[in-house]
Symmetry: D2
Subunit: 236 residues, 4 copies
């Protein structure tokens, strides 16, 4: 059964920046922080090392960066859902602007993931695309205007609120990840508290820092702080 994600969650997404030892160290650190701060952390890696990450970091939600909507059979060079599942992969990103999918491919792949209980984290680049993706009912939607990727510029509270409303109205069970321009612990805190996101995450905000492990720790502390404040305000 798919695990139930606790909010706010965090995504560590090293894309193609890291591999081998550097990925292991980041994953092991994230694993330790997931336990210490009791936060659900998704961790992506190159497909070739997902099985190893699963062994080394058992508390992370090991996540593919892409998956294809195929069934076992043909599909040379494709990423087979069943094979990911076999090695403990629990989630997959889909439709990132650097790996854009056709509407038909995305619909098929979200369907296959649901069959296999693999969580889907689907990227959308505009308000109109957010609506289309929400209508497919993925587990998580990433609301990130493509032109801001890697820029360190956040998408702004109004864009966060607009896309948030679209998702809530079309697919209330889908969680919202606001991830554009998250480069500091403060950005992490703001995406949750001011942007109202269910989760956030970073790539260059971690891997391009002088000390990626320390940058990650600060972000996890920030998200735990946001979580504690939300709970406290609810408690009152």
């Amino acid at each position: 059964m798919k695990r139930k994600i606790r909010r706010p969650f965090f995504v560590v997404n090293p894309k193609s920046y890291l591999y081998g030892e550097k990925t292991y160290r980041l994953a092991e650190k994230a694993d330790e922080l997931a336990v210490r701060y009791d936060i659900d952390i998704f961790f992506t890696a190159q497909h070739v090392e997902l099985a190893e990450i699963k062994k080394r970091a058992p508390h992370l939600i090991v996540t593919a960066q892409h998956m294809d909507g195929i069934t076992p059979g043909r599909g040379m060079g494709a990423i087979l859902p069943e094979a990911l599942k076999e090695y403990g992969v629990e989630a997959t990103f889909l439709n990132h602007i650097e790996h854009a999918m056709t509407v038909a491919e995305l619909a098929d792949t979200v369907g296959r993931a649901a069959e296999l209980e693999i969580m889907t984290i689907v990227c959308a680049d505009s308000a109109a695309e957010t609506a289309a993706v929400a209508a497919m009912h993925p587990d998580i939607i990433v609301c990130e205007p493509a032109k801001l990727i890697g820029t360190g510029v956040t998408s702004g509270d109004s864009y966060m609120k607009e896309t948030d409303n679209i998702v809530r109205s079309l697919s209330p069970d889908t969680l919202v990840l606001q991830a554009s321009g998250i480069s500091t612990a403060e950005d992490v805190y703001n995406a949750i508290i001011r942007g109202g996101a269910d989760g956030t995450g970073a790539t260059s905000g971690i891997v391009a820092k002088e000390d990626p492990l320390a940058a990650l720790e600060e972000m996890i502390i920030a998200i735990a702080r946001a979580r504690d404040e939300i709970e406290k305000s609810k408690g009152r």
Copy 2:
């Protein structure tokens, strides 16, 4: 201003089967039938001959088979919306399985079409894809399982009803075109009366017939008959 489409409408879609004189004859026949039976007929053609079709068949809704969501500027080899508009093109197909678009491209292109008041006829290949497309609010959705294209097999009443319901609930102003396997005048009549479609249309059901002009005329008579029955039943 975009013209208001009257139901039931019909689409003549010769894809890449015809060009030149053969297209002219089919377009001129369709133009004559549109007037005689008072039916809104969309007519597609190769981009290179859309301007000529517009001149020869002024009562048709001249329709591109694809358009790109670009603005004037770069875009080598792309189909510029403004250029189509300039030559009287009033509508465009998008996301046909033979020209699949990414979610981002389709969202952008539906947006550009709306700005220029070009009608969008967007194809969807499954129930999940139909939902995603409906969330973008095109003018018309084509509900046609890809595996049936060109087979002469219709998609069945239950698939027609399921996709119809999806569109009505997510985008009530969007019209539904049921077009799979329409090869006879009877299929045309059934898609409207039994399938509940707002419109229908054909490719090989016309161009692969021995006498395409006669096949077209029978289909237009069938759709006019369906229209008259619907109006009569409402009148009662």
Copy 3:
């Protein structure tokens, strides 16, 4: 029969910058210059207006910006070679970085063009890609590093010579178009005389100028001057 291109030739490529009246004026000017300076000029336009350009500018080599390698039949939204031919299109660009083709698509399309005697102008973005394209024996290869498109920076004499040598050795009958960063009449002259190109051309070097018609005329004068010098040096 395909016409024999005389060197040096010139390509006016407005991409998606222009349409309608502005394209007509540029095409009519190019037509007049082709006659006055006795230069072979390729002229591209949006597919929807190629037929009109052919009528208005009979001395130009009317050129599509893209074509698909299909045969009449299916191919929704595709550009059918036979349809282009029908309206007097004599050449087509292929594989521009803004409309990249797979190896299989490009091989098929160059083959279809040869069958129909449509000239092929194929873009290549690096020395390795130039070799691959040369092995398909198109009529013309465009050697233009993609990162320089639209920058006004030329690719440099050494890149021009390297790619020129690759083409000469693999496909001696293929002409070479050096087109990166051609923004002035001087660049035109230099591409021919110093770069050794068989032809050159421009997009933003014309359409982004305050007076595109004047900019075009200066470039055609420059290419005629280059031609005259080459002929004089041969005559001696």
Copy 4:
């Protein structure tokens, strides 16, 4: 340093048919046969299990089914060459019809593979595509008309000879893999002896058989027999 491939070689390519235990058993069998019959065997698998295959089957040439031509950095969902190398992957298929690449992507990826000493096995679907691919100088070219994939029909001696000649003339160091319709041990033998291929391989000829391990063993015996005959005829 890249290993030198001995002819005739064999490729076991399970595409997306197998994963987990079934792949392990096939890989372990192939490993044992590679040693016993002294044959170079390439073995492909899902990216997620390439590292595990490398550990379990150290005598195989572990081969990816696709790789992207990127450098470490951005590239969400892409297959990073450095990451494959890190886990002992020695070769990669490229441009299979089920994962077609643009000319620019393929040229870049063959270049990146050469930098990292990863062997490239590039698919070509027609004589014209074979020429284009040969001009990029991959290690191995797969000459397989796309329409025959999975059909059990071989491409015929004349197609094998034509493509063989193209490769020999444009890239003499590139090996030729003839792989269409290899479904029996006899087909394996014939591809080498009558087709003159440097290597051959199979997908459904193995995985769709009742006993895939036995089918594989028969094929390896056939290729060893072909090898022995070639050596004997040279010895005379």
